[in-house]
Amino acid sequence: MRGEAYARVRLVTGAVFAVLGGTIVVRTLLDSGLSLRALPAFALGAAMILLAVFRFRDYLTARRTRS
């Protein structure tokens, strides 16, 4: 898999991670508040969202390279 097609697949999986990460952060926040013990769960949610951001950026780069 090369170029834009690969970037598109990664964009979709990135979106999945973004949804999951957002859900984890919101649910943890609603359930446990800003507890120090919940820090690993927040870190997990943030890492998932960050991965989605990187994949979105890669997708834009791949599109720009094509055009």
Binding site: V16, I24, P40, L44, F54
Partner: protein, 555 residues
């Protein structure tokens, strides 16, 4: 894998085909590092209990620093030697040897630990392979797996790149699905906080957990191995590496959080005394710690029914690939070290018929089998179990292997951080398409350089993990340093025998080497930039020398 066969290297001048695509590069790294969580999860849950996610978070932060360091170095020096090459180039021969020797320890442990865990995962489908119930069967099968991999590598058979990519892809999809179902239908944040509060470990156990958590992140050598065979590595490697680093971090954090905060879909069997037990406790016990991901997957709502059937097999295949990469990687590193006079030339010898480095393969698989015997002995012989209990606090086989794996990784990664700082200062002319973030610019010996702050943070992080390993692991504290000391002893004898500098370094033409590396990588723009930088530096040095000479007589 599309890795070049070492066998052909001496006959046809080593030049690896650069055919690895971005997905190939990702899956290569993933099949190495991604398998680690299959081994690490149960071990960490057994040690760090309610703080397992904290242990993974700490080790994960250090791992991100290591990953960034490897990405920068692999993009700037796209050669297959990995950590050993970076240290060799940045710190000289003896440190290059020590880092390479520590990596070799990790590769030999990699062979046996992953073969061991592969059989543990299969035992969830074929109970006769269970280590706890049938230790002799387990031992014999792991032995056969290692011997089989050695023979296959000597004959020259390796798994194909397409197969590797397929298994990695299937695993990413599968793990993501498990997490999706687990977090959406069974994750209870208040249960997570409750488990962490009531099952928080002692500081000793937390340190033990952190030192074991780092094994979930070992295998970054694959980034540099992929760099040597990737087209335009300077632009591809940073993209795929960062994605790989984040994916691995996410899986490690997600599984540990899920294990602590998931409401299981089915009832957990009671413990040996008939008491109810929590999911994390069940996953971390001796029966399940070798196959924790498969057991966890089977307790995920809805998808768990299907996952229970295929995740053990998928895990076993991924672990077998990882074990094979240990056989291949150890022979490749030994071959490279032998070529730079860090190891005797016998490790460069190839089999007449198969043209593979048979002696290297047999030597390091031999070490792996010794480690397997040492790890299995307490279960195979009750008197030995008493001796281990007295000397080593009764550590079980897989924990012993985990100890040494953590020691080797922490030792070699520590040197890589120092090498990165040294190369930033002494080789500022090499273009870096990717740099670790947060750098402090300053002038060093007349050159403008950038000091990597993250490398310092990573160095202290990995050194603390090394210290935790030494403090908490009775066997690791003895066997790890002993491996390094024996290696240094052998190295000193070899260098003296060959009349080479014992503590110093041989003369290396790094400029020529760098031009060749960039040319072979197809990074011609970088090569031009490098030549320009070198020329500028030479002109500046000549001008400075002339200025000093001009001032000389006036004084």
């Amino acid at each position: 894998m599309a890795t070049a066969n070492l066998a052909t290297a001496p006959a046809e001048e080593p030049s690896l085909r650069r055919s690895v695509t971005p997905w190939g590069s990702f899956s290569w790294g993933y099949s190495d590092v991604g398998a680690d969580i299959f081994v690490g999860l149960g071990l960490v849950l057994g040690a760090a209990a309610g703080a397992s996610n904290v242990a993974f978070l700490f080790a994960g932060i250090v791992y991100v620093c290591i990953g960034l360091a490897y990405t920068e170095l692999a993009a700037a020096y796209p050669v297959a030697g990995g950590g050993q090459y970076f240290v060799f180039r940045g710190l000289g021969d003896i440190f290059g040897f020590i880092a390479g020797w520590a990596v070799l320890l990790d590769f030999t442990i990699d062979i046996v630990l992953f073969a061991w865990s592969c059989i543990d995962y299969l035992s969830k489908l074929v109970p006769v392979l269970s280590f706890v119930d049938h230790p002799w069967v387990h031992f014999i099968v792991v032995f056969i797996v290692i011997a089989g991999l050695a023979i296959l590598n000597i004959i020259g058979v390796r798994e194909s790149s397409a197969f590797n990519e397929f298994v990695s892809g299937l695993d990413v999809v599968s793990e993501t699905t498990i997490l999706f179902f687990g977090f959406l239908f069974a994750f209870q944040p208040h249960l997570l906080v409750h488990t962490m509060s009531v099952s928080w470990p002692t500081p000793f156990n937390l340190m033990n957990g952190v030192s074991l958590a780092i094994i979930s992140f070992v295998g970054l050598e694959s980034i540099s191995q992929a760099a040597q065979e990737t087209q335009r590595p300077a632009s591809v490697i940073p993209r795929t590496s960062i994605s790989l680093i984040l994916t691995i971090l996410i899986f490690a954090l997600a599984y540990s959080n899920l294990a602590l905060g998931m409401q299981p879909w089915r009832a957990i069997p009671p413990d040996a005394h008939g008491h109810a037990q929590a999911l994390w406790h069940y996953l971390g016990n001796e029966n399940n710690n070798g196959a924790a991901v498969a057991v966890l997957a089977s307790y995920v709502p809805y998808f768990g029914v299907l996952a229970a059937l295929y995740v053990p097999l998928l895990g076993a295949i991924l672990l077998l690939i990882s074990s094979n990469s240990g056989v291949f990687g150890s022979s490749r590193i030994a071959y490279a070290m032998s070529g730079t006079n860090l190891l005797p030339s016998i490790f460069q010898r190839v089999h007449k018929k198969f043209r593979t480095p048979a002696i290297s393969i047999m030597t390091f698989c031999g070490f792996a089998i010794i480690e397997l015997i040492f790890a299995s002995l307490p279960s195979l012989s009750p008197p030995v179990k008493h001796v281990y209990a007295r000397l080593f606090r009764g550590e079980d086989g897989i924990t012993f292997l985990g100890d040494l794996y953590a020691f080797g990784a922490a030792a070699s990664y520590s040197f890589v951080f120092i090498a990165l700082i040294a190369l930033r200062l002494n080789d500022s002319q090499s273009p870096r398409r990717f740099k670790m973030p947060f750098n402090v610019p300053f002038t060093y010996r007349g050159n403008r350089v950038e000091f990597p702050v993250v490398a310092v943070i990573g160095f202290f992080g990995i050194v603390s993990i090394l210290a935790f390993t030494m403090i908490t692991h009775e066997i690791g504290r003895v066997a790890g340093p002993l491996w390094i000391l024996c290696g240094i002893g052998g190295y000193l004898i070899y260098r003296r025998h060959k009349a080479l500098p014992v503590f110093g370094s041989q003369t290396h033409d790094w400029r020529k080497a760098q031009i060749n590396i960039l040319q072979e990588a197809g990074e011609l723009e970088m090569m031009d930039e490098y030549l320009l930088n070198v020329r500028r530096m030479d002109v500046a040095a000549a001008a400075a020398a002339a200025a000093v000479a001009g001032k000389g007589p006036a004084r």
